[in-house]
Symmetry: C2
Subunit: 407 residues, 2 copies
């Protein structure tokens, strides 16, 4: 698979995170000639928070994480790529238990301190023998780079995705690093994909969870590739506390705002990279909805536009078909008044007050649509509600990838 | 555009409906070398009922019909193809008023007895001069056939769509004929597309409306091509009363059940023809959901499957990827329990009790998926709720049509 035309030029330079050790190994879940098992070990005292898919049919990995998250402590993370282990009944649950028991034995901690996520085909139980051999190998493996880890969690992704941020807390600089995978089955309003965030900040688990929830609402919940929601999607944040900052207990503590801002920025960077690797994507689309009755209403309208196959194919065709944007606003089921609605592409107003802007200049619109970074603006003229969501276009590439991907 | 591979062999043989006269003309809304204006005149005493889009940004035609429908009487119908007149502000409203006034003057009735629908590009005001010239021409035109009318209302459709049904009411046979257009921007849970039904049955307008609502719930509301909802979608039913049956006033009257059954059958036939002409469709997909907590829940789960790009591309690729069906069940937001869920393709159970059926015979599944008529069955194992919905696959053809269609 060719690298997405929307990919960044190179993987970013990411700092080490004190208290985190990364390694990769080849469990051989698929015939891929590459590592497919990622391992992270955390020093004692590492706090954890997470958001998981809203699917009613989640994988046993998701159920495991949901049960362990309230305890707030993590010592290790295992990520399997190539097999999601979802919809595999007791055998899937047994695989998760075998993985967590084996790692807990090696690390000498409780199984509930071990977090696990898997991604790939649904319906094939994760082979326990391969997982166990992979874990034994990864425990002996040399330390890996962030780029190796980001590449090892990939499935249909065309580029490894990572990002960094930092914040000052009480005079101490803390670092945040994130890696993420995902390019299809990416959907709105929930924790999408597999994403892992590591920081050396000292923070209470409950506050880390609140910060991750907030960051998620402004990042992973605002992207969509195809409106489809995985059974396995998980974002986990690990905070080792090794930076030595005064431990944050409350959002009112000095420096908490800075960490929240850094975490949100990091999540947004990661989320946008997923969209930039959307299956078949040739254009990155930012949709800003203003003037809605509420922020939530603006987001639902934005997602209705972002998930419309007709809008997405029009952008693929570089066609300023704002009528399809009107259609998508109309079908969202949210308050809207046709005769107050205005729409712009790039910086050019194309429709206003319920009809086309007479004689608007088509040249800048056409030039904007030929680019790779597309902006659609909608103003409902009703209130102060505002949201931005991100998606990609819908091309022949999406069909080719998904009509051929072997189940 | 090639005729859909799912099209019926030929247009059906449809009977005349007493009290209805059809004609077509060329208004020249587009450069098409074909008729684009369809006209139907009804004898005095014709009852009318209708269902219209749930879009919050409807066309002025839809608003006109919504205002006129409660009066229950119709003398004429005008359908414009090539320009939807949606999102055109005062000029769009003026075009509808000009059309209805001109026809009312010719027919000598109230403007509110005239119904109008338009389909095509959004955002370009319908040119009033062309509409008026078209009306003048159609009023002089010879009577047209049902097939000519069905072809004249088409836009991106690849075949003309019509159907018939009949019922016995108090010893009198009544006939029903329907024509319909639509192949993209077809979405669930509302009156979709432009559909027109004509019957010689004598029936009170209120009862006709109740029957159309019921038929709509089991037909047009159960289909989807792309989950997108037009600003213009309208289904109208006209009943001339010329069959001479005892006029139906209540659903409890003798023969009302038979007419309801015939109307529902007709609507289902028309709705399925729209799916068979879904943009780029190569396979017709029937999705039956059973064992849900309610019929409504079953329908929402069915639509979640039917609107999933990943399910639709898997079917296009003839891939028995039932994991994507699990995904779509999970994302529907309806009650579901992974470990009670079972799935079949054609007659073959592929997953049951939350995991793959061990060693199921793949040969009949592969053979079924190579066909043009695909059946997906889902049993949730929770209750008695049941629904069937219909869609088509998602192919390169959809992308080609919609990335190129000129706005």
């Amino acid at each position: 698979m060719d690298r997405s035309p929307l990919a960044p030029a190179s993987f970013p330079d990411l700092p080490p995170i004190a208290g985190v050790r990364i390694a990769v190994a080849r469990a051989g879940y698929k015939t891929w000639d590459r590592a497919d098992l990622t391992f992270a070990a955390f020093d004692e005292g590492t706090a954890v928070a997470g958001v998981t898919t809203k699917s009613r049919c989640p994988s046993p990995e998701v159920e495991w994480c949901r049960a362990a998250l309230p305890l707030g402590q993590a010592r290790a993370l295992v990520v399997n790529a190539g097999n999601s282990n979802a919809f595999t009944g007791n055998r899937g649950r047994a695989a998760v238990e075998a993985i967590t028991a084996r790692v807990a034995g090696a690390v000498r901690c409780k199984p509930s301190d071990i977090f696990v996520a898997s991604t790939g085909v649904i319906g094939v139980p994760l082979p326990i023998d391969k997982a166990e051999a992979g874990i034994d190998a990864v425990l002996q493996a040399p330390e890996a780079s962030w780029e190796e880890a980001a590449a090892t969690i990939m499935t249909t992704d065309t580029f490894a995705k990572g990002a960094r941020a930092s914040a000052m807390i009480g005079g101490t600089r803390v670092e945040l690093v994130g890696i993420i995978k995902g390019s299809g089955m990416i959907a709105p309003d929930m924790a999408t994909m597999l994403g892992f965030i590591f920081t050396d900040a000292a923070i209470a688990p409950g506050l880390l969870q609140a910060m991750l929830d907030s960051a998620n609402r402004q990042s992973f919940s605002c992207i969509t590739v195809d409106g489809d929601t995985s059974t396995s999607d998980t974002v986990l944040a690990f905070a080792t506390g090794k930076a030595g900052n005064p431990r944050l207990e409350s959002i009112d503590d000095a420096g908490a705002d800075a960490l929240q801002a850094a975490l949100t920025e990091l999540c947004l960077d990661l989320a946008q990279q997923v969209v930039r690797d959307g299956e078949g994507a040739s254009k990155f689309i930012a949709i800003t909805v203003e003037g809605a009755e509420s922020d939530a209403s603006a987001q639902r309208i934005g997602m209705s536009i972002a998930n419309s196959p007709l809008v997405k194919t029009a952008i693929a065709g570089e066609d300023a078909n704002w009528g399809r944007v009107v259609m998508a606003v109309g079908k969202a089921g949210e308050p809207a008044e046709r005769d107050r609605l205005s729409i712009r592409f790039g910086g050019t107003q194309v429709a206003s007050g319920g009809l086309a802007v007479e004689g608007y200049d088509e040249a800048p619109v056409a030039a904007h649509l030929k680019g790779k970074e597309i902006e659609i603006g909608v103003d409902l003229g009703l209130g102060d509600g505002r949201a931005t969501v991100w998606t990609c276009d819908l091309t022949h590439g999406y069909i080719s990838i998904n009509a051929d991907y072997r189940s």
